[in-house]
C-alpha cells in the first residue's frame, strides 16, 4: 500500500513538473554535454544486461547506441542509467535521462497523461503464461484459483488482473519487485503459473531446473509494443529517436549490413543512395538536425535491425527467440518503416 502511495505521489509530482521539464531542445543539450543518457533496464537478458567485460549490451542498449551514432557519429558517446520498473518514468520526466529505452510498453496513458511520446517499436511482445506440465493445464482458461507469479509495477500485472476478471476466473497474485525473484519463486514452486512478456519467458526457461517440465500456454493475452519513450514537447528529438529505429529497419530492408555499408554507398539504387546520404544535394540528415551520413553511422555502429536482433535475442544469443512478429513486413512480421526521402 505504501508503495502505491509513494508511486502515486511520484506520479503526481511528475505531472506537476512534467510540462516544465519537457521544454528545451534536447538535441542541443545532448550535443552540449557530449553524450546521450539512456534509461535502460537494470538487468533483462537480451535487452540490457552486462556482457563478459561488464559493458551493457542488448537490443535496447543497441537502440541507445544507434541514437548516439546518429547524433555524434560515435556509438560510444552514451551513458546508461539502470532503472527499475517504477522509477523509469520519473527518471525520464525529470530529465535525468534523454531517452528511455527500457522495454517499455507503449500505452495510451503513458503516451498522454504521463507526458511521453512513443512511435517506434523495437520489439513486439505479448504476455504469455508458463505452467508446470504436471498441472495438466492446456489453456489459460483452466487456471481458475491458480497462484500467479508476477512482477510489480508493470503492465503485465495489470493485464493479468484484466484477463482473469474478463474471464471470471479467480487467482492469487504472488507479486515481486525484481524479475529474478519472480523466477526463483516460480522455480521453487511458490506459484503455479508464471506470467510475463514472451521474451521474458524465453530467458526464464534458461534458468529453470527442468525446462522440459514447463509449457507455455497458447494464449497471448496482451499486446506489448516495446519501444523508446521521450518527453513530449520536443518534436526534433522525438524524430531523431524514432528515425534511428526506422533507419535500422530500412537498412535490413535494403540488405545493408554493418559489413557492407561502405560498398552499398556505391549502389546505383537511388533509394539506397538517398538513404545513405550520398545523393547529391541531399538534406536527408540536415532536416533532422544531424549530418547526412547519420544512417551510415547507425549501421556501422550497431548494424541493421536484423543483425541487432540476431546478436542479442535471436539465434546467435542463448535466448534463441524467433523473429515472429518482429520480422520485416515483407517476411510475415509487422516491422515496417516509412521510406526515407
Amino acid at each position: 500500500m505504501t508503495k502505491m502511495i509513494l508511486a502515486a505521489l511520484a506520479g503526481a509530482a511528475v505531472m506537476a513538473i512534467g510540462t516544465q521539464a519537457a521544454s528545451g531542445a534536447t538535441l542541443d543539450d545532448v550535443k552540449a554535454k557530449g553524450f546521450v543518457q539512456c534509461g535502460v533496464n537494470s538487468g533483462l537478458a537480451g535487452f540490457s544486461a552486462p556482457d563478459a567485460s561488464g559493458n551493457w549490451s542488448g537490443l535496447d542498449v543497441d537502440y541507445c547506441k544507434a541514437v548516439a551514432a546518429a547524433v555524434f557519429g560515435d556509438a560510444t558517446k552514451v551513458k546508461f542509467t539502470p532503472t527499475s520498473a517504477k522509477d523509469r518514468f520519473p527518471a525520464l520526466q525529470s530529465g535525468e535521462v534523454d531517452v528511455l529505452t527500457r522495454n517499455t510498453t507503449w500505452t495510451l496513458n503513458r503516451d498522454t497523461a504521463l507526458g511521453f511520446n512513443f512511435r517506434a517499436v523495437n520489439y513486439y511482445d505479448g504476455q504469455g503464461f508458463m505452467v508446470r506440465k504436471g498441472l495438466e493445464v492446456k489453456s489459460a482458461l483452466e487456471l481458475s484459483g491458480a497462484a500467479v507469479c508476477v512482477q510489480s509495477g508493470t503492465t503485465t500485472e495489470l493485464n493479468l488482473a484484466d484477463y482473469f476478471k474478463a474471464n471470471n476466473l479467480q487467482y492469487n497474485p504472488v507479486v515481486f519487485e525484481k524479475l529474478e525473484e519472480v523466477n526463483a519463486a516460480y522455480d521453487a514452486g511458490r506459484c503455479d503459473v508464471y506470467t510475463t512478456d514472451q521474451s521474458g519467458l524465453y530467458s526464464l526457461r534458461l534458468t529453470l531446473a527442468a525446462p522440459d517440465d514447463h509449457i507455455i500456454l497458447p494464449e497471448i493475452i496482451s499486446k506489448e509494443p516495446l519501444g523508446p519513450a521521450v518527453r513530449q514537447g520536443d518534436d526534433q528529438w522525438f524524430d531523431i529517436v524514432t528515425w534511428a529505429h526506422y533507419a535500422m529497419i530500412n537498412a535490413e530492408d535494403f540488405g545493408i549490413t554493418s559489413a557492407n555499408v561502405e560498398e552499398m554507398k556505391k549502389s546505383p539504387n537511388p533509394d539506397i543512395q538517398r538513404f545513405l546520404g550520398v545523393e547529391a544535394d541531399t538534406k536527408i540528415g540536415t532536416d533532422l538536425g544531424l549530418t547526412n551520413d547519420w544512417a551510415v553511422n547507425i549501421i556501422k555502429a550497431v548494424g541493421n535491425y536484423g543483425e541487432s536482433f540476431d546478436r542479442n535475442v535471436g539465434p546467435s544469443s542463448p535466448l534463441k527467440i524467433e523473429r515472429g512478429l518482429n520480422a520485416l513486413w515483407s517476411k510475415g512480421g509487422i516491422q515496417y518503416a516509412p521510406p526515407v526521402r
Binding site: L6, A10, A13, V14, I17, A21, G24, D29, K33, S42, G43, L44, A45, G46, A49, P50, D51, A52, S53, G54, N55, K79, F80, T81, P82, T83, S84, D87, P90, A91, Q93, S94, G95, E96, K178, L179, E180, N183, A184, D187, S203, L206, T207, L208, A209, A210, P211, D212, S317, P318, L319
Partner: protein
Amino acid sequence: MNAEAINFVRRDMLAQEPPPGLQKGLGAWMKKNMFATPKDSVLTIIAFLILVWMVPPAVKWLFIDASWTGGGRGVCATVAQGGSQPEGWSGGCWAFVGAKFDQFLFGRYPVEERWRPILVGALFIALLIPMLMPKVPHKIINAILLFIALPIFAFVLLLGGVFGLVPVETPLWGGLMVTLILSFVGIAVSLPFGIVLALGRRSQMPVIRMICTIFIEIVRGIPLITVLFMASVMLPLFLPQGMTVDKFLRALIGVSFFASAYMAEVIRGGLQAIPKGQAEGADSLGLSYWHKMNLIILPQALKLVIPGIVNTFIGLFKDTSLVSIIGMFDLLGIVRLNFSDSNWASPVTPISGLIFAGFTFWIFCFGMSRYSGFMERLLDKGHKR
C-alpha cells in the same frame, strides 16, 4: 617442634600420576562435554544427525560437483537445460564467479584503469594494518594518513580528470570497491560524529542538546531506503534541469548520516553507564570539559560499548547494499545484475553468485567481529571476568 622426632620427611615432590583412564582422552572429553546427562546425549545425537544430513550434501554441492572452469552457461546446465552436465546434476557454478570476478571487484570500472582502485586498495591495507596493531607506534601520523590523506588521494585517483588521468565517473564504479568505500567512509565519519552527537545530546546547553536530539531522532526515524529512493527519484524533479547531485555522493552522505545517528545512541549508552562520581572527580581536579571527556569519561564509555559500536559497523557494512535501489551496483548489486547475462543463465547461477556474495560479506563482518573481540580483551582491565 623437634625435627628428630619425625621418622620420615619426604624431601622431593612425588612424580605426577597420570589421571585415571576414564578421565582423559577423547572418551573422557566426550563423556564430559557431550554425554554427561541423558538430555545431553539426546541433543548430541540429534546434532550429529543434522550434521550428517547437511554437511556431506553441502560439500558435494559446493566442491565436488561444482563446476570450476568454463566459458559459458553450458558448464553449469544439464543436457536438458541446454548444457553439458549429466541429467539431475546440480552444483556450484564457480566458473560464473571466476568469469565475473573482476566485475564483482570493480564493477564497470574501465579495465585499463583498474590499477587505480588496486593501488588505493593496497595503500589502504598498508595503512590499515599498522593502525589496527596496538603495538605499532606513530598512531597519530598513521591516523592522519589513513583518515584524511588517503580519502583525498583516493578521491582524486579514482575519479580522475586531473594530472592526465582519464575521468572515471561514479556510475561506472561498482562491486566490492563501492561496498568498501561506502562502509569505510561511513565508519570513519560516524565514529567522530557519533561521539559529538552523543555528547551534544547530554550537553547542559539547551540549543545544542535540542539540535543533536532532533538530528538523531529524525534520521533514526526514517528508513535509509526511503531517503535513498527519494534522493534518487524526487530530487531531480525539484532541482533545475541538468543539475544533479552525483548518486554516489548521495549514497555516501545518506549512509554517513544514518550511521552517525545510530552511533550516537550507542555511545550515549556508554556515557550513561559511567558513574557520576567519575565526572565529579574530574571536576574536583579542575579539568576542563574536553579534558574531562577525553581523559576520564570517553575512554571508559567507549570501551564499554565496543560490542555496540562494532554491531553498528557491521550493520552499516551490510546496509550499503541498499544503494542498488538507486541504480548503483555494490557487491550484491553487481552479482545480481550479472544474473541477467543470458550467456550465464542457468538454474545454479543465481545461488552460486549469492553464496559468493554472502561469503565475501561474511569474511569482512567476521573480521570486524574478531578484531573487536581482540580489542575488548586488550582494553578490559577492570571488568575482566
